[in-house]
Amino acid sequence: MAQMNLLHAINNALDIAMTENERTVCFGEDVGYFGGVFRATSGLQEKFGKVRCFNTPLVEQGIIGFANGLASQGSVAVAEIQFADYIFPAFDQIVNEAAKFRYRSGNEFNVGKLTIRAPYGGGIAGGLYHSQSPEAYFAHTPGLKVVIPRNPYQAKGLLLASIRDDNPVIFFEPKRLYRASVGEVPEEDYQLPLGKAEILQAGNDITLLAWGAQMEIIEKAAEMAATDGISCEVIDLRTILPWDIETVTQSVMKTGRLIVSQEAPLTAGFASEIAATIQQECFLHLESPIGRVCGLDTPYPLALEKEYVADHLKVYEAIKHSINY
C-alpha cells in the first residue's frame, strides 16, 4: 500500500480506468497538458495521448453536452468541471438530458458511461464562487447518482465504481482535502459500492451523519461528545443519490437520535431530505427532533467563513441539545 493524498488517489483511479479501457476519455478546462488546475489529471495526456485526455474550450454546458453525446455513443466519458460552483451552466445538460436520457428513450439510448468530476466545498477562503456544495441541487433529479468521498481510499474506490457504473454519476471531490487528506491506498484496482453508507464508528446514544469533508467535522464532534460520555454512531453517507435509507434507519432505530450535518445552506439541502425520511421511518423511535447542522441560508461568505460554517463546535452543541431534549 502507498501513501497517497486525495489528488493522487483520484489520479491513480483515472489512470486505472484509462488503462483498462481504451474508450475511456478524460477532458475539461485545463485538464490536458497542464493536468488540471488542481493537477488531478496530471500525466494522463502524456501517457494516453491528446485524443484521450484533453483541454476543452471554456464552456461547461458544452463539456457536459459533449460528454453526454460521447457516453451515448458508448465511450466512457469522464468530464471535469473545474469547480462545482461552475457546474450550473451545465445544469440543463445534467438535469434535463443526462438524467432523463435512458428513461425518455425507453432505454434505446443511455449515458450510463458518463462521470462528472468536480471539486466542491469550502474552507479554502474561496468566497461565494469557490466554496459551494451543490449536491442538493442534483439530489432532486431521478436518474442521477451523486457520490462524495471523504478520504483518498474512499475516493479511489468510489471513483472507479462511479466510472464503471452504468448510470450518469456526479462525483464531488472535497477540494479542501485534496492535499490535506493523506492515507494508505492500495495501488491495485478496487471498488467501493455506490448507494451504501458506511458506519465509521458504532455508538448507542445518537447517530451522526454527514458526507465528504464534513466527516472530519462530525468525527471531531463525536470525540468531544465521547468525553461527556455520549456514545455516537458515526456514518458516512458516501452516496447522496440514491441514498442508503436502510443503514441510516437501522442506526436511528437503535440510537433514537440523529444529527445530519452538511456544508451547504440549511434550507432545502440534502439534510432536509434525510430528516424528512427518517422522521417517517423512525417516528416511534425518535427521542428528540432530528437536528440539522448546516451552513447559514446565505451565499458562501469570505471574511466570516469561520462563523458561517457548520464546524465541530456547532455539531457538538447540537449533540448535547439532542441528548438533553
Binding site: 454546458q61 458544452g62 459533449f66 453525446g69 460521447l70 451515448s72 425507453g106 439510448f109
Partner: protein, 393 residues
C-alpha cells in the same frame, strides 16, 4: 499561439469595422422548380433506385403529416408537428449519408427516420404512446428514436443535441469508425448557448459532425429577423473556423449533394461542416399553434410555389423515372396505409405499469421499487380511478 501571429495579418491605422457584408455567402441550387437543372449544376451521386426511394419517402412524409394533423383535429391524437414544405431537408440529409451514420434531430426531421426505414407501425405506436412504442410511451408524440437505425431519440429541450452530436462524433472518430454524425436544428434553436458550445467544440476537438440548420424563417411566432441580425446561420461558421455552405433547402438534389460532400469532408479531415438549408415552415408550428396570429397568407402563398416534393416530382418525370399514374397510386396507397395503421395503434393498450419506474436507472433502486409497490397497492384499492392499469399487473 494565436496572438503571436496577429502581426502577420493586414494592418490599418484608421479604424475599419468588419461586419456582415464582409462575407459573401452564395446559395447552392441544383434543381429548378420545373424539374430542370441549373446550367452547370453538379448532380449528387444518385441513381434511379435512390431517387425513387427518396421521392417515395417524401410522399410518405407528406401523407403521414396530413393524416396525423387530421387525426389530431379529430381528437384521436394529442399532438403533432408537421414538416410541410421542408421535407427535403430531412429526407435529403439521410439520403446523403450512410446507414451507420448517427442522426440527431430537433423534432421536425421525421423524414430522416422514414428514409432509414422506421416502420409505419413504429411511428404510430410512438404517437399513441402505447405498449409497443420503442420509447415506452414516455414522451409526447413525434419524439421518435431508434438505436437500430442510428436515430437518436428526440428530446424537447432545444439545442441540447448540438454539443451532444459533437461528442457522439468524437466517439466515432476515437473508435476509428467509417461514420459521422449529422445534427439537425432550427434557426431558432441556433440561438441557444448549446449551439455555440457544440460548434466551437467540434472545430477545436476535430469531430466529424455535420451541423444541419433548417432555416425555415420562424421559431413558433418569432420571425428570423427577430432571432438574429447576422447573415443567416451560415455566417457564424466563419467565426468558428468551420467550413460552411448555404443551400436551397427545398432543392432535394442540393440537400443530397451538400450532405454527401460534407460527409466526405468531415470524415477525411476529422472536422465539422455547417450546412444552412433555406426553407419555410409552411404549416403551423405544431397542432397547438395557429400561424394566422402572426403572419400573412400572402407570405405563405409565396412559399407554396417552392414545394420541394413537387420539384422533385418534376425532375423524376423529366428523367422518366416516374409517371403520374404511379404518383397518384402512391398517394392513395400511403393514405390508406396510414389510416389503417392509426386504427390499429390507437387501440393498443398502454405500457405496463412497471414501465413507470424502469429505465430511471439501469437497475431499479430499492426506494423506487418501494414507491411502485405502494402504488400498486393503491391502484388495487381504487381500480376505477386507474382504468388503464388496474388489474393489469
Amino acid at each position: 499561439m494565436n496572438t503571436d501571429s496577429y502581426n502577420d495579418g493586414a494592418v490599418v491605422h484608421t479604424p475599419v469595422f468588419i461586419d456582415g457584408h464582409s462575407v459573401e455567402i452564395p446559395i447552392l441550387k441544383i434543381l429548378k422548380q420545373d424539374g430542370t437543372l441549373y446550367e452547370g449544376a453538379e448532380l449528387p451521386e444518385i441513381d434511379q433506385k435512390l431517387a425513387t426511394k427518396v421521392y417515395k419517402t417524401l410522399v410518405f412524409h407528406r401523407v403521414m403529416d396530413e393524416r396525423m394533423v387530421a387525426s389530431q383535429r379529430q381528437g384521436r391524437l394529442s399532438f403533432y408537428m408537421a414538416a410541410l414544405g421542408e421535407e427535403a431537408a430531412s429526407v435529403g440529409g439521410a439520403a446523403g449519408l450512410k446507414d451507420q451514420d448517427m442522426i440527431m434531430t430537433q423534432y421536425r426531421e421525421q423524414g430522416a427516420l422514414m428514409f432509414r426505414g422506421f416502420s409505419l407501425e413504429d411511428f404510430m405506436n410512438q404517437m399513441f404512446s402505447n405498449a409497443k412504442d420503442l420509447g415506452k410511451g414516455r414522451q409526447m408524440p413525434i419524439h421518435y428514436g431508434s438505436k437500430e437505425l442510428n436515430y437518436m431519440t428526440v428530446s424537447s429541450p432545444l439545442g441540447t443535441q448540438i454539443p451532444q452530436a459533437t461528442g457522439y462524433a468524437y466517439g466515432q472518430k476515437l473508435q476509428g469508425l467509417d461514420a459521422v454524425t449529422i445534427c439537425y436544428f432550427g434557426e431558432g434553436a441556433a440561438s441557444e448557448g448549446d449551439f455555440h458550445a457544440g460548434l466551437n467544440m467540434a472545430a477545436v476537438q476535430e469531430a466529424p459532425v455535420i451541423f444541419f440548420c433548417r432555416n425555415n424563417g420562424y421559431a413558433i411566432s418569432t420571425p428570423s429577423d427577430e432571432q438574429f441580425k447576422g447573415n443567416g446561420i451560415a455566417s457564424r461558421g466563419v467565426g468558428y473556423g468551420i467550413k460552411s455552405l448555404r443551400i436551397d433547402g427545398n432543392d432535394i438534389l442540393a440537400v443530397i449533394k451538400a450532405t454527401q460532400i460534407a460527409r466526405a469532408y468531415a470524415l477525411k479531415e476529422n472536422a465539422p461542416v455547417l450546412i444552412e438549408a433555406m426553407s419555410y415552415r409552411l404549416g403551423a408550428h405544431s397542432t397547438s399553434d395557429d400561424p394566422s396570429g402572426y403572419r400573412t397568407r400572402e407570405e405563405e402563398e409565396r412559399w407554396q410555389a417552392n414545394d420541394p416534393i413537387l420539384r422533385m416530382k418534376n425532375w423524376m418525370l423529366a428523367q422518366k423515372w416516374w409517371d403520374e399514374a404511379q404518383d397518384s397510386a402512391l398517394y392513395t396507397r400511403y393514405r390508406e396505409e396510414v389510416l389503417a395503421a392509426v386504427k390499429v395503434s390507437e387501440k393498443i393498450e398502454k405500457p405496463h405499469l412497471d414501465t413507470l419506474i424502469t429505465d430511471v436507472y439501469d437497475v431499479t433502486p430499492v426506494h423506487l421499487q418501494a414507491q411502485m409497490d405502494e402504488l400498486k397497492e393503491h391502484i388495487n384499492k381504487y381500480p376505477d380511478a386507474y382504468p388503464f392499469t388496474a388489474g393489469k399487473f
